[in-house]
């Protein structure tokens, strides 16, 4: 393939990808029904409740997942042990699985004897808000481990070795050198995990149901409004979700670019 054709090939790919995403966003914003204006629906009480619920559950789930993902990803990146590839593949399963399967699995977990004990003595998950958090946590964790592991693997262990000779304990080297040097991966991992959490429908609806004003996250509310032919409201929420994703991803990229400089 000549240089010119190769450039055409690249341009076609880039153009098609951008057009697809722009079209998805444009058709949402372009929809203005006489009675069902999507922007008017954004101020309604149940919509605001869904937004609030989605924001805090996804942030909590992604934060908890980050706490677990950091040591998991670091261990997978640095330790060499028998069965490492198996563990690595296992942790990727939630990325590939349909979220509904994860939701079903979580329901089965909380139907088991230990799960029932937790439900009765610690906190209720099934058809409750904590169920949303745990579903989002599982999805977010897999994503964050993937991104963070790549970041830790990219970091030359020599930096940590030098830090040890400068007086750091293994944890000290990790805290003072590894984590700051992997800051971009940490932010990227958290945002990817958070995006996965806030956008989830299948796992959330399976374990927590779709109780209005209780377990109705933005994706669940979109589905519920579509089912009841409230197109404007569904689209308003869809636009909001799209805007949140776009703003967050843009901020992360700007932050990343600044760090690089």
């Amino acid at each position: 393939m000549g240089r010119r054709w190769f450039s055409v090939y690249l341009l076609c790919g880039l153009g098609l990808a951008v057009t697809t995403v722009v079209a998805i966003i444009a058709v949402q914003i372009g929809y203005v029904g006489d009675e069902d204006n999507p922007f008017r629906a954004l101020g309604e009480r149940d919509v605001l409740a869904a937004v609030k619920l989605s924001l805090w559950t996804s942030t909590l789930a992604a934060s908890l997942a980050l706490v677990v993902a950091v040591p998991t990803a670091y261990a997978l990146a640095r330790w060499r042990f028998r069965g490492r590839f198996l563990v690595d593949a296992l942790l990727d399963v939630p990325i590939v699985l349909s979220p509904i399967v994860i939701g079903i699995s979580l329901i089965l977990v909380f139907r088991s004897t230990p799960g029932q004990w937790i439900e009765h003595h610690v906190v209720r998950f099934v058809f409750e808000v904590p169920g949303i958090v745990i579903a989002q946590f599982v999805l977010s964790l897999a994503m964050q481990v993937r991104v963070l592991k790549a970041g830790f693997e990219d970091l030359d262990p020599r930096f940590e070795q030098v830090a040890r000779f400068l007086g750091c304990t293994p944890f000290g080297a990790f805290w003072r050198v590894t984590l700051p040097m992997c800051r971009a991966s940490l932010v990227a991992g958290f945002v990817m995990g958070w995006s996965r959490a806030i956008g989830d429908f299948g796992a959330t609806v399976t374990i927590a149901g779709s109780v209005a004003n209780k377990t109705e996250t933005i994706p669940v509310a979109i589905y519920n409004n579509l089912s009841t032919v409230k197109i404007g409201k569904a689209l308003g929420l869809a636009i909001l979700l799209t805007m949140i994703a776009f703003v967050v991803l843009t901020v992360v990229r700007v932050f990343g670019a600044r760090r690089e400089r």
Binding site: Q161, L166, G167
Partner: protein, 368 residues
């Protein structure tokens, strides 16, 4: 300062043969050897970064064989320097002291060391990414020295630099190391670097420590053929016959300074810089006068070298014997040679070459 006894370390399938080593306080020991000889494995084993299967390491009277790196109070400077890119130049240099909570006198120590290394102007830099190779090496050296280590370990630390910067930095480092009385172990594969800075050189070949001696002695008395080949000694020949202080190479008999104690096959080497072209009747030299012809001239690295094919019937005075023409000796040409013999030192000219007995090193082909 450092005592190593029977140390056996490994890196994957590579395993060092047992190493015994003593390094004195304030000494700069160079670990020298070809690529793959085990220099870095030995250094990393001394640092505690490699599994140790046997032996013991004592630093400053304290057994540290299994001590974690941060408790050894030694500094390590790898080839890629590994400056922390998220910290400023000053924060990099102060890192070790701050981690250990040793803030007293830190500013003064930093100022003194950066002044000695000529990098005071870099202290205000907010990051290390913009530093040149030489600057980064100096900052890394300052970072190591500020911790006041008991021993400084350097792994090919200056090898990636341009020759002139490396040379300057090596001299700067050597001066500072002597001024501070710092014990240092420096790994390199470069003979020039080793000879320029070492108090003693430890030669590693084929996963074993083969020889440990001063640079002068190393080049004068290589332990065996492997060392001589690695050191690229001049005029390396298998000794045909060894009879007391007489050695014969390719039919040419040479008188040695003393009878060498070599059992089994022997080799000899003679430094090209020590060999001299002389007038046949020069009364100042009586031994090892060999007649021959200039086979060629080499002009490299600013030196001229003549390759002298020793005559098959070269009946030299004193101990010189008849050769069969297989012996070609390399001789460094000096201004004196040109003064004495004239400027027409060209290929084909008959000459007489003197091999001073003290310039000849005889050593075994192999040692245990």
């Amino acid at each position: 300062m450092i005592s190593v006894r029977g140390l056996v370390a490994s890196s994957g399938p590579f395993r060092l043969r047992p190493v015994d080593l003593e390094v004195g306080a304030g000494e700069l020991l160079v670990l020298l050897g070809p690529a793959g000889a085990g220099k870095t494995v030995l250094l990393e084993a001394l640092l505690g970064m490699r599994p140790i299967h046997a032996g013991a390491i004592v630093i400053d009277g304290r057994a540290v064989t299994t001590t974690p790196p941060e408790q050894r109070h030694v500094a390590y400077m790898p080839q890629d320097v590994a400056l922390f890119p998220h910290l400023s130049v000053r924060a990099n240099i102060e890192f070790g002291r701050r981690v250990r909570g040793q803030h007293a006198g830190l500013a003064a120590d930093v100022d003194r060391i950066v002044e000695s290394l000529g990098i005071a102007r870099l202290l205000a830099r907010p990051g290390v990414r913009s530093l040149s190779g030489g600057e980064a090496q100096r900052v890394a050296l300052a970072r190591a020295l500020v911790t006041r280590p008991r021993v400084l370990f350097l792994d090919e630390s200056f090898s990636a630099l341009d020759a002139h910067i490396r040379q300057r930095l090596l001299h700067q480092f050597r001066a500072l190391q002597q001024e501070l009385g710092l014990t240092a172990i420096y790994v390199t594969h470069s003979l020039g670097e080793a000879a320029a800075v070492a108090d003693r050189i430890a030669v590693l070949i084929d996963a074993g420590l083969v020889q440990l001696s001063t640079p002068e002695r190393l080049f004068r008395e290589p332990r065996d053929l492997r060392v001589a080949r690695f050191l690229q000694l001049d005029n390396l020949y298998a000794v045909g016959a060894l009879d007391g202080a007489q050695a014969t190479i390719g039919g040419v008999r040479l008188t040695l300074a003393a009878a060498p104690a070599v059992a089994g096959p022997a080799w000899l080497a003679a430094s090209a810089g020590d060999l001299m072209l002389v007038h046949p009747g020069d009364p100042a030299v009586a031994t090892n006068l060999l007649r021959g012809t200039i086979a060629g001239l080499d002009r490299r690295h600013g030196h001229s070298r003549a390759r002298i094919a020793v005559d098959a019937d070269a009946g030299g005075g004193g101990g010189g014997g008849g050769g069969d023409g297989d012996v070609v000796l390399e001789c460094e040409l000096t201004a004196r040679d040109r003064l004495v013999l004239g400027d027409d030192l060209t290929a084909g000219r008959p000459v007489t070459i003197h091999v001073p007995p003290a310039a000849v090193a005889v050593f075994p082909e192999v040692t245990a």
